[in-house]
Amino acid sequence: MNRSVFAIGLCVLLAVPVASAQKVNLRFSTWAGGEGLTLLQQLAQEYNAQTPNVGVTVEVTPFADYASKVAVQLASGSGPDVGWLAEQSVPSFLKSGSLKDLSALTGDPAFNLADFPVSALSLWKQGKGVYGVPFSNSPQVLFYNKDLFKQAGVSTPLQQYAKGGWDYAAFRSSAKTVKDRTGAFGARIMRVDTKAWNSGTLGVLWSNGGNVYDSNLKCAINSPASVRAFQLMYDMTFGDGSVPRPGDQTTFQGGRLGMYIDNVSFSAQLKDAAFKWGVAPLPKGTTGRVTQLGQAGYVVFARSSRPNEAQAFLKFLASPAVMARTAKFFPPPRKSVLTSKTYLGSNPAIPAAELKTALVNQLGSARVFKTSDNFLRANDLFASGIERLYQPGANIGNVLNDICKGVDGL
């Protein structure tokens, strides 16, 4: 009697998963936050509404640890089916065969692969295969706090740009004036985490003739022009006190930072900002106005047990209609979307004219950070060297020489 009750119970328990197995559940991995994440969750729901047998769970891993956590998930057999991947992680994921070839999808005329610039796709191609579809082609721009500039009585970066005077001297003096007159920091160039030192720093280096690697991928962060660029950032930090020191947790969202260099998608985190802000191009240096181009794409992971459903969801995300919606936060690689009027007016927080000036006009001179295949190790040396560089009384030339000795010795 008892045994039969148990048996029936067991059957019921076993039958539940069998019944729900009719429905496919995909796991989508992303590092999105704020409104960008909300949009992705909404897209997942819409996809479920139009293909009821496929449910999509959106999983978030913060950007700093994204690649390593996803790699661990994949290795342990509990990886996501489909998700985002940033440009710096693409070579290692390709090398290990972790990405599914999507050429069956991208070869479809309806997908219109020609809508993507060749330069935007090169990273994702290997042999005849296409292993990812970029959704974000994003030059770094300068966010500025309009309220602080107004309070300090300085014309905004965009106004100074319009007059043609927006160079690094103007950047430095604006930051110092904001600092002196409001008490808030004038500018943050690097992100809070020194591991992400290249964000912001690269624009300053490249625009002033400096570099991290030369054309043979040999370390060049100790070249005379690089040293001058670091000297400028160092002097703003320790001389003017207008740039926060390493360890300082002040963020732009908090309203106590005049200027901040980041990708356009950062605007998704400014929804609740209690101040007015705008975007402008980076300042001009001795060798031009060069900004870093970041890329992120959709991929299907090779170990997915539902590769076809995952690819179909990727097709939905990368379609012109959906890309026009994600474009609100992520500058779209599809030319048809980028040049459309609806795109430039899609981000209610940034006026079309500002977006055009800051972003579309900068795309031509934006540069992708090309790194060597040992970059994970090299980046650790760069980051730890930069921590030694931003110390009171540091000898910048010596520290940068040490970094290059380590990086070239790898």
Binding site: A71, V72, S96, R245, P246, D380, E387, Q391, P392
Partner: protein
């Protein structure tokens, strides 16, 4: 607790019945130990003989990872950081715990509140604790502002390679000292007051009484606290990871952080496993050494 010789029950022999029952009762622990400790331990030793990026399949390289360790200056440096960190924690934590316990053992007014305050960091979640300190230790945060007022210009203790390690040690001790203090307190309260009374009548100074009576009587506790603090210090990861991530300039990269970096940042799981194996042998050797010293240094009443 010892199991005395009880009269055998009728039927099955004791070894037959209680033995089986005993095995059944320790089974969950034995299984857990085998599956979650011994298994991974053997796996780590195996992985340490391979080159494995996690995304591809492991490749056998023999002892190459260990040879590489011997010639890796960053490994040697992180071993040095570990030594300073561990000795620093031991010295600061144990002396502070003993001092706090002695204070808590007195009958001063408000000592209950003081005990709660000393113990409360122990129950704080470690990440929250570290994050709060990270904000307190910002370049222009309250701690550095205080130090600057004391004449230390440009003080930025957590982000200066020469002071970061000691800053982390102090934060870690404040977090953990309450537990050791409570353990010491219970030992101090177990010291019979008549011994102190007799010593006082014989004219012993308070220091002599502490040195000759209290310390020998609490030496088993001292030994316990020493071992758990030592092993704990060698295994500290989370607060360092949150506070400094091993920086600035690797000045707080202990062996555990070095292992994490090799594995989860550089994807060299073979090399990271070799670091783990060395750390395991180190902890094992230290524990065995302490165990053999125990008989000479620890005083047992019975």
């Amino acid at each position: 607790m010892t199991v005395g010789a009880r009269p055998a029950r009728r039927g099955l022999t004791r070894s037959g019945r209680e033995g089986r029952l005993g095995w059944l009762m320790v089974l969950p622990y034995v299984l857990g130990m085998l599956l979650l400790v011994t298994g991974p331990l053997i796996a780590v030793l195996g992985i340490s003989l391979t080159q494995w990026s996690l995304l591809d399949s492991p490749r056998w390289v023999g002892a190459r990872n260990y040879l590489r360790l011997a010639n890796d200056p960053a490994f040697v440096r992180s071993a040095g950081v570990t030594a300073v960190f561990t000795l620093g924690i031991l010295a600061v934590n144990i002396s502070a715990a003993l001092a706090l316990a002695s204070l808590m053992n007195t009958r001063l007014r408000g000592i209950g509140i003081f005990r709660t305050l000393v113990f409360s960091p122990v129950v704080m979640p470690v990440v929250a604790w570290a994050l709060v300190w990270k904000f307190l230790l910002q370049p222009q945060g309250p701690v550095n502002a205080g130090l600057q007022n004391l004449g230390m210009a440009d003080s930025n203790v957590l982000f200066n390679p020469s002071t970061a390690l000691w800053t982390v040690i102090v934060i870690e001790v404040i977090k953990a000292v309450g537990l050791n203090a409570v353990i010491f307190l219970s030992a101090l309260q177990g010291v019979p007051p008549e011994l102190h009374e007799a010593a006082r009548l014989d004219g012993a100074t308070p220091w002599q009484a502490f040195r000759r009576i209290t310390l020998p009587l609490i030496s088993p506790t001292f030994f316990l606290v020493f071992i758990i603090t030592l092993i704990g210090a060698l295994k500290v990861f989370t607060p360092i990871f949150v506070l400094t991530g091993g920086g600035p300039a690797d000045s707080t990269t202990t062996l555990i952080l070095y292992m994490f970096k090799q594995g989860f940042q550089f994807f060299e799981f073979g090399y990271a496993s070799a670091v783990a194996a060395v750390l395991f042998v180190l902890v094992l050797a230290l524990t065995l050494a302490q165990w053999s010293l125990r008989k000479r240094l620890v005083f047992y009443e019975d």
